[in-house]
Symmetry: C2
Subunit: 229 residues, 2 copies
Amino acid sequence: MTMSVINVDQLLARATHSRPYLEAGAQDPLQNTIEATGETVSFDPNEEIYAEEDLSLYLYKVRKGTVRICRLLEDGRRQISAFLVPGDMFGLELGDCHSFSAEAVEACEISMFDRRGVQALAQINNSVAMRLWELTAQSGRRLQEHILLLGRMTAKAKVATFLLSLADRIGVTELRLAMARHDIGDHLGLTLETVSRTLTQLENEGFIRMRGARAIDIMNSSALKRLAA
Amino acid sequence: MTMSVINVDQLLARATHSRPYLEAGAQDPLQNTIEATGETVSFDPNEEIYAEEDLSLYLYKVRKGTVRICRLLEDGRRQISAFLVPGDMFGLELGDCHSFSAEAVEACEISMFDRRGVQALAQINNSVAMRLWELTAQSGRRLQEHILLLGRMTAKAKVATFLLSLADRIGVTELRLAMARHDIGDHLGLTLETVSRTLTQLENEGFIRMRGARAIDIMNSSALKRLAA
DNA sequence: CGAGCGTTTGAACAGCGTCAAAACAAGTGG
DNA sequence: CCACTTGTTTTGACGCTGTTCAAACGCTCG
């Protein structure tokens, strides 16, 4: 990974300039001001973007590829709280340190914005502050949904929900999974073996079709939804 | 439950007045401006504060008692994503509708603030906007921790973690549980029977002592922490 | 072609859920 | 003050879902 650091003053300057434009009705001030300053950086598969306890220096946006947000326990257990796909932002946390790590699942391109610059911008530009809140609130809602899944669903319902939400977020029913069974298991609170068994079961029952382990076609979306409930 | 509605203009007026004060270094603008306008309301045990899909009209703060945030599935399964204790705020969500319901676990006193007023205030007062973001970010971090618990912990570790976090948030090692075994189970992704069995097991092993079902003393906090990990 | 992962599949096991009953607590009315 | 009711908690027996351990299979890439 290589990158050049973004200048805070530059950010603030852009913010000031963009103000009249924003007041004229721009939809996403964060898009318009900050994103333009972001430096896009490449990460290799399984490369760490930041670790737990790392200083929180940047706000990130996925351009290409898939990112996982993880917590690790000493004995090797891992929980992936979310997968992020192009368009998703991450890295915005309370305090100066990350409480979770972020890793590239596959080769990724990720835009990085100076966190302090963004926060300074939020101080003077209310639309930016509101947008930051929206981002955080949206991720909160997803976490709530995931809590329901982890706490109250069977393996079958978990996998079905996972496939559907992935299809929904990407916008296609022919999925190419970027992540290994192991990653899916650590996301759904299952072992990789259970994920594998459940997928073959879903295939045998006609809900999905697999063209190789990573390419999954959803054959009957509404029937899958019934499983997921 | 009875209450009088809060006036938006009143809120905005207070916000304007409080500005010089805030700029002089107030710690929590939300505290100083909005909270002063809140109407405190009483709820009975198990009374619903708001339902899923209800219009999101207020921002709430727990004064006394305990609140649970729930999701329900058609077949009766329930997931409690959080318990809230005095000092916690809730009800702040993306969009105009709630995606979760909130219920009083025991008799509660809760302050309510007009949501639109708060948001209007956030538009003109940046400290308020930042505070709203902090609230959301903090609840997000708790949700992440809970995801780790649900996905990767055994029943024993779940219950141990629950007791410790409750003790930590209340600030005492002699707990009086406001909620039933059933509520705890729906929070930890367990059945009420498993919660009960696990508690008696923890008592037999000397980690806790029970003086009646709802009064639990943590005898060995550091040993309990080791279980929780 | 062979080495190294990732995936699938199998068999045995265990943790937790389910069902059922009993013990307990708290409130109600006689 | 006691009998009765209702809801919560505990305890037991049993079974199922998902884990663990192990082996075979199949990609992908030197």
